[in-house]
Amino acid sequence: MSLLALALPFSFDRPMWLWLGLLIPLLILASLRSLAGLEFMRRTMALFIRSMLVLLVACCLARVEHVQRNDDLTVIYLMDRSHSVQELQNRQEAFVHQASDNIPDEDRVGLIDFARDAFLQQLPTRGGYYISPGRLPAMPNTDRTNVAAGMRLAMAMFPHDTAKRIVLMSDGNDNMGDLLAEARRARADGIPVDVVPLDYQHRNEIYFDRLIAPTHAEPGEQVAIRMVINSQRPASGTIILQHNGRLVAIPDRQARVELRPGDNTFYMKLSVDDPGSHVFEATFRPDDESMDATARNNTGSTFTFVAGTSHALLITADPDFDAAFVDALRSENVKVAVKTTDQLGEFGLLQMMNYATIILSNVPAAALTDKQQEELALYVKDMGSGLIMLGGDEGYGAGGWIGSPVEEVMPVSFEIKHKRVIPRGALALIIHSCEIARGNFWGKEMAKKSVDTISSQDYIGVLAYSWSPGGENWEVPLDLNTNKAAVKNKIDKMQIGDMPDFGTTMQMAYRGLVSGKGRDAAQKHVIILSDGDASPPLPRLISQYKKAKITVSTIAIGWGGHVMASTMQSISRATGGKFYQARNPRQLPQIFTKESKVVRRPLIVDEPFQPQLLHSYSEILAGIDPTSDALPPLGGMIMTSPKQNPNVIVPIIRATDDGEDPVLAHWQYELGKTVAFTSGYWPVWGRQWTQWPKFAKLWAQIVRWTMRQDAPANFDTYTKIDGNSGRIVIDALDKDASYLNLLQLRTSVIGPDNQPVPVEFIQTGPGHYEAQVPIDKAGQYLANVRAIDASGRSMGTLRTGLSAPFSPEYRDLMPNEALLRQVVDETDGRWLDMPAKDADVFSHDLPPTEARRPAWEWVLAWLLLPMFLLDVAVRRLASWLAFSIAVELVVLVFLLIGLDIIHTNILGVFGAFLLAELIGWMIRFRYIGPLFDYMTHTVTALGRAGERSTASLDKLKSKKDEVRSDLDGEKDRTGKVSTGEETLDPLGPIPLANAKQRFDVGDAKASKPSADLADALGGAAPNRPPAKPDRPPAQEDQGDDQETTSRLLRAKRRAKRKEDNGS
């Protein structure tokens, strides 16, 4: 049965209905009687067709499906290109090449390589593996092995209509994703995973297994640092320890260490004085570098939080400008640290967390990297800290902060939303970035960055060389930046071409800014992004720019490759703009932010005004009486708009004829609090404020209001990293050392990519809570855990974190064969060995794939209905000709169906037509043969009849002559002349039957063709017995009639009796 199922291109969804086929014998038995009147051949055909009808109805009810089976094979190789096996890439490529040599024509080969991410390098393609050895593109992020990602991609890439096989080449040191889960999915999809193990063993390897320090400490405490270093062989070397980035002097006897094979543990004690986070980093440097295969895993890091009073940090471009402000705060006992923007360097979230609030005083957005801006927003939102922004000519929108993550957490929007008439800026971008790797991507990203940075009241336009028609175009026409999403959408659709010269685009920008929509802009600026090899503009055009006071800044990109900087330098120099040489794409966002804000100068209100107190009930203005404490005037501010949110409070405003501008606004945003003071810039705008007696009190109050409320919960914490996951353990005890149960511990862990990941703590014992943190990047993971007891009361917060100095990829010393074996077992795969000639990767031992399509409707329309017609035709079509045509049509339909199934070409259709014709004509021969016989026989018979008639005539003639001579003799005897009739009279009247028989030659055979002809042309009941010549036809008819009548009468009587019985 299964063999039959394999051979037939059909299957059934509800095979139970096929039992209907058992009706066929019954049907045959029943039909034998009802079809008894048909001749044998017709009866046989009718029975066959009826059986087929039953069978087809059964098929339809059983939901017959067309099954397309295919035993072609697709093999996708998964090539591990992570760090641990990078030296084995050549072997892997050689394996793929050898194993894919001479593959069957219809089979396909694909290749996916993976490390942290998976990439499709060759689509499943017929004919073999086409990528030459050594031509695979460089693999990014080799610090992880994510086999699961490769498996997922492979399963998505398989064509649906072939058998599938994955050949995994790996060392099995999977440290990202869930390989076994993907293996189970592969098994469910019927995809075996063959494994080619990559074998190696690092015999000379030293790695820093762990650096352990207490998570919390008190100021002045000596914290114990424990270092665990693993070595494969005995080795010696030096330990170098850094504390908060500074080298710690260690006595030689402690720094010089001897390692034994296995784990080696060393201790050290260090004093921690300042409150905040303390980062420790220890590195082992071996004396003999040959003892260590890779140096990337020789560093360990950890951190300790030291409790202390809350500090504020003031970040400023110029500390002198803020000296009075800082003094005022300190006079109110607010602890303030000051950093200039130049000192920020690697200032990250961990460092930010040392301060309870951060004050940005006239800091432009470009002073912080995009990452730092994101971290600043997280510092407020997720870490519950404070942020205060003070204005100045580089603050808010004028400082390029529009659209930044920081704007999101502030109580004011840096845009002017209401219908204020303010001077506008106009920015034209000229993008020529197509000649650099991913240049157009960066060109578009930076254009979008500019759209975000400038106000919606400004003009923006983007010029580029477009390919078709070849020429320079306003890809984004110069217009108001009102709908930023629409403008960015247009930028995304740009097709940036290779611009031949700067002159044309600069000319277009000039026209747009001077006589086009940008003509009413107060500030006009052009930014050119290019590799500089376009033709420079004519000096005449540069003069026009200078005259129109349009500045042009140029940004040369080339990532260290060729850049023709001289032309770009001369353009920016001549027009008063700036020239930048971006060495890598990461520098671009800051440059664009800085340059785009040039057009935002109109947001600065550089005129004195009297600020007005609006909400004296604001908690940060407690103690300021609006009646007695008139606010001192301010010399200027930056225009912003308060956010439309009920939490936003704007206690101080600048009132003008056409609206109110916020001067001081504050709100709580998620866990943190932020304050916007749009003036500031104390020596220039706020001199009178710094002399105001309540200045210090007011600002101390504001700063304290924003500060993160550190109420450390007195819990023990412990963290550990194991492979690609980290564990945070908290033991909660109250002051009586009783376990605290049923606590709610809430936190999000912020990893190196600044994406907060919510983690869930599960209580696993009395007062014991654990949470798992996915660790997929090297770096620091911070969490601020809020503890809430069973009654909903906050028990304070707890800072903790993990440090993953290097990926587990760098500690793999040998393959993980057990995991690979598990994959093979899970998926019914095979264990292949490296010499590819022995690996039968393309063996066709997998079940063929089946593609099923429902076919019952089609059977109904194309088989069942024609069969019905044929059934009628067999029984009712008296003509063999008509019958043959019907059969022919049915055969043709059958054949075409068959051909459709095997997808033949036009020749196949033609062949089917021929075959149907052949069958049709074979039936027709049955009819034509007798007809031919009849015709030839008749002609012969007529010929013979003619001859016999002539003989008879001669005979009659001689008889006539004889009679005449007798009559003449008699006449002569009687003397009378008689007529012709009279002549015939003696013969008497001739009956019709006899008249016919007059021409009957008396040949018995001559009647047979007549019977056959009637049979062929007219006989609805051809099986009737041949007419007996000796039986009069009238009697025969009568007899039949009588018989039929009596049968009918009998039947009627029976029916009557039955009816009577029934009733």
Partner: protein, 315 residues
């Protein structure tokens, strides 16, 4: 590597073999269409780094014997037969700063390549053996000048078109010594802006494709301006960034328009004779073509750059 025959294949074979064996021959003898549309007689190339494939080809030249040389943005020079069959190829000695955009075959068969971003001309034989090289920035030229094309006159003097601020044609002795600069200063009020290609005619006058001025300039070998025509536009006789110019066997000129995505034939007095091609990816269409040349049998080979292919036209 045993393989079970497909069931379907067997059916098909049996049925077709039984019924149709006599018909197969009659239906297979069909003729190929003689020409692709728009006069294109062949197309070769395609995107790739393998032999015969291109990564943004930017210049083509043909030697008298008929072989073609194509340079692309991977820095490779490939030699093809007139039928487009790959013969050989080599890579420029350095490519990190940039790749060549122009090359020519000298009357003696040597291949002169304008190594644009290295400010030099390199001379190869037809098999890629480097014969000579001279730096165009060393004497008489600004350091930052970028050579775009090179051509050799009947006397063996080498002419190099340069751009980037001081756009002009420089003339070099056969041994690579600077001789003179041509086309400096305003020409009809505007100096040359990116002379993208040069070619000599039979009268040994030099035709210059002044790309960013969208015009053609004819110079004598001494630098005398003989004719200027063109201007920006799509109408015949005007140009959108003419990136290549070639003197035809009929002694007219053929201009390849990078921005106009077309070829234009002109008489020597600037009258447009014919325009061919439009923008697109189909056969017979061009996408940012950088160059074109006449080859064997008078066929024209167009570098269809963004389509990474060569189209062969029988004009």
């Amino acid at each position: 590597m045993h393989r079970r025959p497909s069931i379907n294949t067997n059916w098909r074979r049996a049925l077709q073999g039984l019924l149709l064996s006599g018909l197969a021959g009659a239906l297979t003898a069909c003729e190929q269409p003689p020409l692709t549309p728009n006069g294109v007689i062949a197309v070769f190339g395609g995107v790739g780094l393998g032999p015969g494939a291109f990564s943004y080809p930017r210049a083509v030249t043909a030697e008298p014997a008929g072989s073609l040389f194509v340079v692309d943005k991977s820095g490779r020079i490939q030699r093809f037969s007139p039928q487009g069959e790959f013969e050989t190829g080599w890579t420029m000695p350095q490519t990190k700063q940039g790749k060549p955009v122009g090359l020519s075959v000298a009357p003696d068969g040597r291949i002169f390549v304008a190594d644009t971003h290295y400010h030099r001309v390199i001379v190869f034989d037809r098999d890629g053996i480097q014969l000579d090289a001279f730096a165009t920035k060393e004497s008489g030229s600004k350091e930052t000048q970028l050579p775009t094309d090179v051509d050799v006159d009947d006397d063996g003097f080498i002419y190099v078109s340069e751009y980037q601020g001081d756009d002009r044609i420089t003339k070099w002795s056969p041994d690579g010594q600077f001789v003179a600069a041509l086309g400096e200063g305003p020409i009809e009020g505007v100096p040359l802006r990116r002379p993208a290609a040069i070619d000599f005619d039979r009268q040994q006058t030099l035709w210059v494709a002044d790309a960013c001025n969208h015009r053609i300039v004819r110079l004598s070998r001494e630098g005398e301006i003989l004719a200027v025509f063109g201007g920006f536009g799509d109408e015949p006789g005007h140009f959108r960034y003419p990136y290549d110019i070639t003197v035809t066997p009929q002694d007219t000129i053929m201009v390849c328009e990078y921005g106009g995505n077309r070829l234009q034939w002109l008489s020597k007095d600037g009258r447009s004779l014919r325009v061919w091609g439009d923008a697109g990816r189909a056969t017979g269409q061009l996408f940012a073509p950088w160059g074109a040349t006449y080859g064997q049998n008078g066929d024209v080979y167009v570098v269809d750059s963004l389509n990474s292919r060569i189209q062969v036209i029988r004009p």
